[in-house]
Protein backbone atom coordinates (compact mmCIF):
# COMPACT_ATOMS: atom_id res chain seq x y z
CA UNK A 1 0.00 0.00 0.00
CA UNK A 2 2.80 2.36 0.98
CA UNK A 3 4.52 1.63 -2.30
CA UNK A 4 1.33 2.38 -4.20
CA UNK A 5 0.91 5.71 -2.46
CA UNK A 6 4.53 6.55 -3.18
CA UNK A 7 4.05 5.57 -6.80
CA UNK A 8 0.96 7.76 -7.10
CA UNK A 9 2.76 10.69 -5.51
CA UNK A 10 5.57 10.30 -7.95
CA UNK A 11 3.26 9.97 -10.91
CA UNK A 12 4.16 13.14 -12.74
CA UNK A 13 1.94 15.26 -14.93
CA UNK A 14 4.56 14.78 -17.58
CA UNK A 15 4.98 11.12 -18.31
CA UNK A 16 8.30 9.91 -19.58
CA UNK A 17 9.28 6.56 -20.99
CA UNK A 18 12.03 6.05 -23.44
CA UNK A 19 11.97 8.82 -26.00
CA UNK A 20 8.29 9.76 -25.83
CA UNK A 21 7.12 12.52 -23.52
CA UNK A 22 3.48 13.47 -23.03
CA UNK A 23 2.79 17.06 -22.07
CA UNK A 24 -0.31 18.63 -20.53
CA UNK A 25 -2.94 16.06 -21.31
CA UNK A 26 -6.21 17.80 -20.54
CA UNK A 27 -9.91 17.57 -21.05
CA UNK A 28 -12.74 19.93 -20.22
CA UNK A 29 -15.49 19.94 -17.69
CA UNK A 30 -18.63 18.13 -18.81
CA UNK A 31 -22.10 18.10 -17.29
CA UNK A 32 -23.57 14.77 -16.28
CA UNK A 33 -25.25 13.09 -19.23
CA UNK A 34 -22.91 14.55 -21.84
CA UNK A 35 -21.46 11.61 -23.71
CA UNK A 36 -18.88 13.23 -25.96
CA UNK A 37 -15.63 14.77 -24.78
CA UNK A 38 -12.17 15.56 -25.99
CA UNK A 39 -8.58 15.14 -24.82
CA UNK A 40 -5.81 17.41 -26.02
CA UNK A 41 -2.10 17.11 -25.30
CA UNK A 42 1.33 17.52 -26.84
CA UNK A 43 3.35 14.43 -27.72
CA UNK A 44 7.08 14.86 -27.92
CA UNK A 45 9.32 12.36 -29.65
CA UNK A 46 12.91 12.84 -28.51
CA UNK A 47 14.15 9.81 -30.39
CA UNK A 48 15.61 9.41 -33.83
CA UNK A 49 12.82 7.11 -35.03
CA UNK A 50 9.29 8.00 -35.97
CA UNK A 51 6.65 6.91 -33.45
CA UNK A 52 2.88 6.73 -33.80
CA UNK A 53 0.12 6.87 -31.23
CA UNK A 54 -2.21 3.97 -32.01
CA UNK A 55 -4.81 3.94 -29.25
CA UNK A 56 -5.77 5.51 -25.94
CA UNK A 57 -7.78 3.94 -23.14
CA UNK A 58 -9.52 5.49 -20.15
CA UNK A 59 -12.07 2.82 -19.37
CA UNK A 60 -13.05 4.26 -16.01
CA UNK A 61 -14.26 7.43 -17.71
CA UNK A 62 -15.52 6.50 -21.16
CA UNK A 63 -16.32 3.54 -23.36
CA UNK A 64 -14.12 4.46 -26.30
CA UNK A 65 -11.44 6.95 -27.23
CA UNK A 66 -10.89 7.48 -30.94
CA UNK A 67 -8.05 9.24 -32.70
CA UNK A 68 -9.55 11.95 -34.87
CA UNK A 69 -8.33 14.57 -37.26
CA UNK A 70 -10.22 17.78 -37.90
CA UNK A 71 -9.54 19.80 -41.00
CA UNK A 72 -11.04 23.02 -42.25
CA UNK A 73 -11.13 23.55 -46.00
CA UNK A 74 -12.86 26.53 -47.56
CA UNK A 75 -14.55 27.19 -44.25
CA UNK A 76 -15.98 23.68 -43.98
CA UNK A 77 -15.00 21.60 -40.94
CA UNK A 78 -14.60 17.86 -41.36
CA UNK A 79 -13.64 15.31 -38.73
CA UNK A 80 -12.36 11.84 -39.56
CA UNK A 81 -11.23 8.88 -37.50
CA UNK A 82 -7.58 8.03 -38.09
CA UNK A 83 -5.69 4.85 -37.24
CA UNK A 84 -2.67 6.59 -35.79
CA UNK A 85 -1.08 9.95 -35.11
CA UNK A 86 2.53 10.05 -36.26
CA UNK A 87 5.20 11.98 -34.37
CA UNK A 88 8.33 12.38 -36.51
CA UNK A 89 11.78 12.05 -34.90
CA UNK A 90 12.91 14.92 -32.69
CA UNK A 91 9.66 16.78 -32.92
CA UNK A 92 6.41 17.51 -31.15
CA UNK A 93 2.84 17.11 -32.32
CA UNK A 94 0.19 19.15 -30.59
CA UNK A 95 -3.25 17.61 -30.36
CA UNK A 96 -5.50 20.63 -30.27
CA UNK A 97 -8.74 22.11 -31.54
CA UNK A 98 -8.89 22.16 -35.31
CA UNK A 99 -6.30 19.38 -35.71
CA UNK A 100 -5.56 15.91 -34.38
CA UNK A 101 -7.38 15.17 -31.14
CA UNK A 102 -8.70 12.34 -28.99
CA UNK A 103 -12.46 12.04 -28.93
CA UNK A 104 -14.05 10.43 -25.89
CA UNK A 105 -17.23 8.58 -26.81
CA UNK A 106 -19.63 7.34 -24.19
CA UNK A 107 -18.43 9.41 -21.26
CA UNK A 108 -19.83 7.74 -18.15
CA UNK A 109 -19.88 10.55 -15.63
CA UNK A 110 -19.65 14.28 -15.12
CA UNK A 111 -16.14 15.65 -15.53
CA UNK A 112 -15.40 18.23 -12.86
CA UNK A 113 -12.75 20.94 -13.20
CA UNK A 114 -9.77 20.23 -10.99
CA UNK A 115 -10.30 16.47 -11.14
CA UNK A 116 -8.18 14.15 -13.21
CA UNK A 117 -8.29 10.63 -14.57
CA UNK A 118 -5.70 8.11 -15.72
CA UNK A 119 -5.32 7.16 -19.36
CA UNK A 120 -3.07 4.72 -21.19
CA UNK A 121 -1.43 5.82 -24.40
CA UNK A 122 -0.43 2.91 -26.65
CA UNK A 123 2.09 3.46 -29.39
CA UNK A 124 2.32 1.28 -32.47
CA UNK A 125 5.85 0.14 -31.60
CA UNK A 126 4.52 -1.50 -28.45
CA UNK A 127 5.33 1.23 -25.96
CA UNK A 128 2.57 2.05 -23.51
CA UNK A 129 2.52 5.14 -21.33
CA UNK A 130 0.26 5.88 -18.39
CA UNK A 131 -0.59 9.50 -17.99
CA UNK A 132 -2.94 11.67 -15.98
CA UNK A 133 -5.49 13.77 -17.86
CA UNK A 134 -6.40 16.97 -16.05
CA UNK A 135 -9.95 18.25 -16.30
CA UNK A 136 -10.00 21.97 -16.88
CA UNK A 137 -12.65 24.61 -16.61
CA UNK A 138 -13.82 25.77 -20.03
CA UNK A 139 -13.14 29.41 -19.31
CA UNK A 140 -9.43 28.77 -18.71
CA UNK A 141 -8.48 29.38 -22.31
Amino acid sequence: MRRLVLLLLLLPFTAHASDIVLHRAHSYELKKGSEMGVIYLTIENKGSKEVALGSVLANAICHTIELHMTEINNGVASMRKVDSIVIPPNSKVELKSGGPHLMMIGVKQALLPGDSFPATFNFTDGQSLSHVVQIESRDND
Partner: protein
Protein backbone atom coordinates in the same frame (compact mmCIF):
# COMPACT_ATOMS: atom_id res chain seq x y z
CA UNK B 1 -17.11 21.56 -84.37
CA UNK B 2 -19.98 19.11 -84.04
CA UNK B 3 -17.58 16.47 -82.77
CA UNK B 4 -16.44 18.76 -80.01
CA UNK B 5 -19.95 19.70 -78.95
CA UNK B 6 -20.25 17.02 -76.24
CA UNK B 7 -16.95 18.17 -74.75
CA UNK B 8 -18.07 21.80 -74.77
CA UNK B 9 -21.38 20.86 -73.16
CA UNK B 10 -19.57 18.78 -70.54
CA UNK B 11 -17.21 21.67 -69.75
CA UNK B 12 -20.11 24.09 -69.41
CA UNK B 13 -21.93 21.67 -67.11
CA UNK B 14 -18.78 21.28 -65.02
CA UNK B 15 -18.36 25.03 -64.76
CA UNK B 16 -21.96 25.50 -63.66
CA UNK B 17 -21.77 22.60 -61.20
CA UNK B 18 -18.55 23.85 -59.63
CA UNK B 19 -19.96 27.37 -59.30
CA UNK B 20 -22.94 25.95 -57.45
CA UNK B 21 -20.82 23.69 -55.28
CA UNK B 22 -18.29 26.29 -54.21
CA UNK B 23 -21.04 28.86 -53.93
CA UNK B 24 -22.65 26.70 -51.27
CA UNK B 25 -19.48 26.70 -49.22
CA UNK B 26 -19.73 30.37 -48.95
CA UNK B 27 -19.20 32.58 -46.75
CA UNK B 28 -17.18 34.46 -49.22
CA UNK B 29 -15.68 37.67 -47.91
CA UNK B 30 -18.13 39.68 -45.82
CA UNK B 31 -20.06 42.12 -47.94
CA UNK B 32 -20.35 45.37 -46.07
CA UNK B 33 -23.26 46.72 -48.01
CA UNK B 34 -25.45 46.28 -51.02
CA UNK B 35 -26.57 43.00 -52.47
CA UNK B 36 -24.54 40.90 -50.03
CA UNK B 37 -26.94 41.65 -47.18
CA UNK B 38 -29.62 39.49 -48.67
CA UNK B 39 -27.35 36.49 -49.17
CA UNK B 40 -27.14 35.14 -45.65
CA UNK B 41 -30.11 34.62 -43.36
CA UNK B 42 -33.77 34.09 -43.94
CA UNK B 43 -36.78 32.11 -42.91
CA UNK B 44 -36.57 28.94 -40.85
CA UNK B 45 -38.73 27.02 -38.43
CA UNK B 46 -37.06 24.85 -35.77
CA UNK B 47 -37.52 23.70 -32.17
CA UNK B 48 -35.45 24.91 -29.23
CA UNK B 49 -34.03 22.77 -26.40
CA UNK B 50 -37.16 23.33 -24.30
CA UNK B 51 -39.41 21.95 -27.02
CA UNK B 52 -40.72 25.36 -28.08
CA UNK B 53 -40.93 26.55 -31.69
CA UNK B 54 -38.14 28.93 -32.70
CA UNK B 55 -38.21 30.73 -36.03
CA UNK B 56 -36.40 33.58 -37.76
CA UNK B 57 -38.97 35.89 -36.16
CA UNK B 58 -37.57 35.04 -32.73
CA UNK B 59 -34.31 36.65 -33.85
CA UNK B 60 -35.81 40.11 -34.14
CA UNK B 61 -35.14 42.95 -31.67
CA UNK B 62 -31.74 41.60 -30.64
CA UNK B 63 -28.47 40.58 -32.25
CA UNK B 64 -27.81 36.91 -32.94
CA UNK B 65 -24.61 34.91 -33.30
CA UNK B 66 -25.61 31.90 -35.37
CA UNK B 67 -23.54 28.71 -35.64
CA UNK B 68 -24.40 25.43 -37.35
CA UNK B 69 -22.99 22.18 -35.97
CA UNK B 70 -23.92 18.96 -34.18
CA UNK B 71 -23.68 17.48 -30.71
CA UNK B 72 -21.38 14.60 -31.69
CA UNK B 73 -18.77 17.23 -32.48
CA UNK B 74 -16.13 17.40 -29.72
CA UNK B 75 -13.82 19.95 -31.23
CA UNK B 76 -15.08 22.66 -33.59
CA UNK B 77 -18.58 23.18 -32.18
CA UNK B 78 -17.50 23.46 -28.53
CA UNK B 79 -14.80 25.92 -29.57
CA UNK B 80 -17.31 28.11 -31.43
CA UNK B 81 -19.84 28.04 -28.58
CA UNK B 82 -17.19 28.63 -25.94
CA UNK B 83 -15.65 31.58 -27.77
CA UNK B 84 -19.09 33.10 -28.25
CA UNK B 85 -20.10 32.56 -24.64
CA UNK B 86 -16.86 34.06 -23.29
CA UNK B 87 -17.07 37.01 -25.66
CA UNK B 88 -20.58 37.75 -24.44
CA UNK B 89 -19.37 37.52 -20.85
CA UNK B 90 -17.17 40.54 -21.58
CA UNK B 91 -20.11 42.69 -22.66
CA UNK B 92 -21.71 43.22 -19.27
CA UNK B 93 -25.30 44.40 -19.61
CA UNK B 94 -24.95 44.59 -23.39
CA UNK B 95 -24.78 40.78 -23.45
CA UNK B 96 -28.57 40.82 -23.07
CA UNK B 97 -28.75 42.24 -26.57
CA UNK B 98 -27.01 39.25 -28.13
CA UNK B 99 -28.34 35.71 -28.40
CA UNK B 100 -26.19 32.76 -29.41
CA UNK B 101 -28.11 30.44 -31.73
CA UNK B 102 -26.78 26.92 -32.29
CA UNK B 103 -28.50 25.01 -35.10
CA UNK B 104 -28.00 21.26 -35.50
CA UNK B 105 -27.17 19.86 -38.94
CA UNK B 106 -27.66 16.32 -37.61
CA UNK B 107 -31.44 15.80 -37.69
CA UNK B 108 -31.07 12.03 -37.21
CA UNK B 109 -29.38 12.22 -33.83
CA UNK B 110 -30.10 15.64 -32.43
CA UNK B 111 -33.30 16.62 -30.67
CA UNK B 112 -34.26 19.10 -27.95
CA UNK B 113 -32.91 16.80 -25.20
CA UNK B 114 -29.49 16.22 -26.79
CA UNK B 115 -29.20 19.89 -27.71
CA UNK B 116 -30.02 20.95 -24.16
CA UNK B 117 -27.36 18.66 -22.69
CA UNK B 118 -24.79 19.93 -25.16
CA UNK B 119 -25.28 23.68 -24.76
CA UNK B 120 -25.61 23.50 -20.98
CA UNK B 121 -21.88 22.79 -21.00
CA UNK B 122 -21.44 26.38 -22.21
CA UNK B 123 -24.52 28.41 -21.34
CA UNK B 124 -28.19 27.58 -20.88
CA UNK B 125 -28.94 30.92 -22.54
CA UNK B 126 -27.91 29.58 -25.94
CA UNK B 127 -30.85 28.86 -28.22
CA UNK B 128 -30.15 25.26 -29.27
CA UNK B 129 -32.26 24.43 -32.30
CA UNK B 130 -33.03 21.14 -33.98
CA UNK B 131 -35.63 19.96 -36.45
CA UNK B 132 -36.54 17.53 -39.16
CA UNK B 133 -34.27 17.01 -42.15
CA UNK B 134 -36.44 19.41 -44.15
CA UNK B 135 -36.46 22.07 -41.45
CA UNK B 136 -32.69 21.84 -41.04
CA UNK B 137 -32.20 22.12 -44.79
CA UNK B 138 -34.38 25.22 -44.93
CA UNK B 139 -32.30 26.90 -42.21
CA UNK B 140 -28.96 25.84 -43.72
CA UNK B 141 -30.02 26.98 -47.18
CA UNK B 142 -31.11 30.34 -45.79
CA UNK B 143 -27.63 30.84 -44.33
CA UNK B 144 -25.85 29.30 -47.35
CA UNK B 145 -24.39 26.75 -44.98
CA UNK B 146 -22.88 23.61 -46.42
CA UNK B 147 -23.40 20.34 -44.53
CA UNK B 148 -22.96 16.76 -45.55
CA UNK B 149 -23.36 13.47 -43.71
CA UNK B 150 -20.25 11.31 -44.08
CA UNK B 151 -20.29 7.62 -43.15
CA UNK B 152 -17.53 6.55 -40.74
CA UNK B 153 -18.12 2.82 -40.50
CA UNK B 154 -14.98 2.11 -38.48
CA UNK B 155 -15.90 4.77 -35.92
CA UNK B 156 -18.19 4.27 -32.94
CA UNK B 157 -19.93 7.42 -34.18
CA UNK B 158 -21.16 5.66 -37.35
CA UNK B 159 -21.13 8.93 -39.22
CA UNK B 160 -20.07 12.55 -38.88
CA UNK B 161 -21.39 15.71 -40.46
CA UNK B 162 -19.08 18.03 -42.34
CA UNK B 163 -20.32 21.59 -41.95
CA UNK B 164 -19.51 25.22 -42.54
CA UNK B 165 -17.71 26.54 -39.49
CA UNK B 166 -18.61 30.23 -39.35
CA UNK B 167 -20.33 32.33 -36.76
CA UNK B 168 -22.85 34.65 -38.40
CA UNK B 169 -23.66 37.92 -36.70
CA UNK B 170 -27.21 38.95 -37.53
CA UNK B 171 -28.75 42.31 -36.72
CA UNK B 172 -31.87 43.29 -34.81
CA UNK B 173 -33.71 43.30 -38.11
CA UNK B 174 -32.62 39.70 -38.72
CA UNK B 175 -30.24 40.75 -41.47
CA UNK B 176 -26.65 39.69 -41.91
CA UNK B 177 -23.97 41.98 -40.46
CA UNK B 178 -20.76 39.96 -40.51
CA UNK B 179 -19.24 36.57 -39.93
CA UNK B 180 -16.29 35.13 -38.06
CA UNK B 181 -14.31 31.89 -38.14
CA UNK B 182 -15.34 29.41 -35.43
CA UNK B 183 -12.10 30.01 -33.54
CA UNK B 184 -12.28 33.80 -33.57
CA UNK B 185 -10.43 35.26 -30.60
CA UNK B 186 -12.85 36.07 -27.79
CA UNK B 187 -11.47 39.58 -27.49
CA UNK B 188 -11.89 40.30 -31.19
CA UNK B 189 -15.45 39.04 -31.12
CA UNK B 190 -16.25 40.99 -27.95
CA UNK B 191 -14.73 44.20 -29.36
CA UNK B 192 -16.67 43.85 -32.61
CA UNK B 193 -19.92 43.26 -30.74
CA UNK B 194 -19.28 46.30 -28.52
CA UNK B 195 -18.68 48.51 -31.55
CA UNK B 196 -21.86 47.32 -33.23
CA UNK B 197 -24.07 47.55 -30.14
CA UNK B 198 -22.72 50.98 -29.16
CA UNK B 199 -21.73 52.65 -32.43
Amino acid sequence: MLKRLPIIIALCALAIASTYWFGRDLPTAPTPSGSGEALIGGEFSLTDQHGNPYTHKDMLDHYSLVFFGFTHCPDICPTALLNSTLALAQLGDDAKQVKIVFISVDPERDNPASMKLFVNNFSPDIAALSGTAEQVKQAADAYKVFYSKVEQKDSALGYVVDHSAYLYLMGKDGKYISHFPHNVAQQELADTLKRIINP
